[in-house]
């Protein structure tokens, strides 16, 4: 119970109009926070002053709320439920290192009511922080051990080399080293047989800490995943800073596709373009179709194969759904012949599990299973042989 004197002393603090101001003192909308959160915010600002990359991003984005919420229903600002009594609206802001709940009062001012900080950023005295922080890491292959070693980059930038590979790893790894050793061998398949450059000069890794994998069959829409939003803000800042570097390859492994797609959405919202860069999704756990549409908007230069969805029928379907968009885009190398090829391969990917399921259900399993695989595989093989013969003839007779 507070005494009357106490409440008198604090009356100025309790009055919402006199909550400590964070931004918008002179222009724009006023942004305040509840008094209890002021020390937490100060800590964040301190980190930003100490030149921590992620903290600078967070403070900048929080201050950017002064321009209002209009059009801010984007990747990292999500509208929450409307509070019925007073008509104020709630928003959730996902940023590197923190998650904020912001209430928009009826007088169009903003107040931060909740600020959940990610401890990974502060426990400098605790163990293994430099391996569990969200952010950019430099990965190099250590010849003595044959394993990848990831080192945290304070500036959050990628190495400014032409044709640099940046692997966007999935979550659910305990350390960046583990993520590097697991994700880079997958991401490297993007280069086909020419992996020696990456093995010699290393690559960059975008690491997202978290207890669970991102995406999956039931969360296939990347823009609805909350766990990767703050990571996407960081990756978007990295991508924007790297836009001057030539031919950077952003390769997402597994659930990293969620982070990459969200980051691309942020860049599209900002109106940034990444000309000359390319992306690839290795075994994505979120929709490649969405990523492709964003890639076209960012003017990325794509390859014929844009995602390796493996035997995932949903991934194959998702890629087919954008085939028309790709073919009608002039700067996309995906053409009719590629589509026919992909169609056959996709048919195998989709119908083999279906066929196997049917065969198992209907009894004489092994015989049917073999015949289905042959029939479907055969059509694709005949087409491929035909293509290569035609190409050979074209070479020989120059038509």
């Amino acid at each position: 119970m507070s005494t009357p004197q106490h409440s008198l002393q604090n009356s100025s603090q309790n009055f919402p109009q006199s909550y400590p101001l964070i931004a918008g003192q002179s222009a724009g909308k006023r942004i305040s926070c509840v008094p209890e959160l002021k020390p937490v915010y100060d800590r964040l600002q301190q980190a930003a002053h100490r030149n921590h990359h992620w903290a600078r991003i967070a403070v900048k984005e929080l201050n950017a709320l002064t321009t209002g919420m209009l059009g801010k229903n984007n990747v990292y600002v999500r509208p929450g439920e409307r509070q019925r009594g007073c008509g104020s609206e709630k928003y959730y802001v996902f940023l590197p290192g923190l998650k904020a709940t912001v209430v928009r009062w009826i007088n169009d001012q903003f107040c931060i009511t909740e600020l959940v900080m990610d401890d990974n950023y502060y426990r400098t005295r605790d163990r293994d922080v430099q391996q569990s922080r969200l952010g950019t890491y430099r990965a190099s292959l250590i010849a003595e051990t044959g394993e990848w070693r990831a080192e945290y980059v304070r500036s959050g930038q990628v190495d400014p080399r032409i044709g640099r590979l940046v692997t966007v790893a999935d979550s659910n790894y305990e350390s960046a080293n583990e993520a590097a050793n697991y994700s880079i061998p997958g991401a490297i398949t993007f280069f086909g047989d020419n992996t020696s450059t990456v093995r010699q000069s290393g690559c960059d890794l975008h690491f997202t800490p978290g207890p669970k994998r991102l995406g999956g069959l039931f969360r296939y829409d990347s823009l609805s995943i909350d766990a990767s939003r703050s990571s996407a803000v960081h990756l978007a800042a990295t991508m924007e800073a790297a836009s001057k570097v030539k031919s950077v390859a952003w390769v997402a492994d597994f659930g990293g596709s969620a982070v990459l797609t969200q980051a691309m959405q942020i860049l599209v919202d900002k109106g940034v373009s990444l000309e000359g860069h390319t992306i690839f999704l290795h075994r994505p756990r979120t929709s490649p179709a969405k990523a492709l549409k964003l890639a076209h908007q960012l003017k990325l230069s794509l390859n014929k194969r844009f995602a390796n969805t493996g035997v995932n029928p949903r991934g194959a379907l998702s890629q087919f759904s954008v085939a028309g968009v790709r073919m009608s885009n002039r700067s996309d190398p995906y053409g009719r012949d590629q589509h026919a090829m992909a169609w056959f391969k996709g048919a195998v990917a989709i119908s083999t599990p279906v066929g196997v399921g049917a065969a198992l259900a209907s009894g004489p399993a092994m015989v049917m299973l073999g015949s289905i695989a042959t029939a479907i595989g055969g059509a694709g093989a005949v087409y491929a042989v035909g293509q290569s013969v035609a190409e050979d003839m074209r070479r020989r007779f120059k038509f």
Partner: protein, 301 residues
Amino acid sequence: MRNIFKYPPIEWRKRHEYTIPQGPNFSWASRTRLNIAGSHLQITAPSHSPRHSIIKQTNSYPGHDAILDSPAGLHTDFSMPGGRWGVACLWSRRWAFYGPWMTGCKGELFTAIAVIGWSDSHRNSKFSFLNPKAFESVLINYLNDRYGHENWEGEMAHVPRYHGPVEWRCHDHLPVPSASFKIYNRGEDLSDLVRPDHLFVFPVSDEYFVVVTTVQDYYSRDEKGNLAFDTRPIQKLQDKVLGSITLKLDPETQAKVDQVKAEVGNMKLCKEFAPLKWPTNIYPPEPADAPEILKSLKAGC
């Protein structure tokens, strides 16, 4: 012996409560022989059982000699500045340790054996690695190149990423001088030393030496960030694996060792080895126009 029913390699209930994990059984371990420049290095270790099967082991073909059977020599490692070292990884294994009742992987132990020599452009046959004093200075050069150049970049370029060697111990169970020590990963603050590389080094010939790198990875922490399991089983396996290393020298090399012994007397490496001054590459280049002034200043004091 790991109870496969109680400690299965499955993670269905992720818990961060204190447990004693179990790893591979050392009594089923097999013996591997590596041939390096005519000498035989033997190690006893359980079979490769990593947490993620994507991580492969490194093996040498039986009977294949890492130096004599590769006439072109070792490949230069360009990830180290200067390109002074040729490196080849001959053998590596990873062993996962699991918690009880499907609580998942708690930690991993990693061991790799590599042979290292001068790269072709920096070959230096003036001294022999078998001489303990020479080997110490070679080791300093090697550690400076492998760890010393890494710093925290930008305005933190004076802060190294690694700290070591610490806990230096010299051994005499091999016919050549040998030592083990740790190199810690260092945070932005000196108190933040984590996840050391345990290194065990010894020469095998005039121009080649062996580095055994062992790393313990810990995967389970409670809310406070403290380890939520007993790391002793991991340490125990590490001690057993490292303790099983034996070296039988080539007769020629043995003769050289005896010769060095006759010259030097004591074949042991030094007892103490202070941490090296890292990073090695932060000193700004001296201004080109003022070397005389600098020299006079230095002469003055």
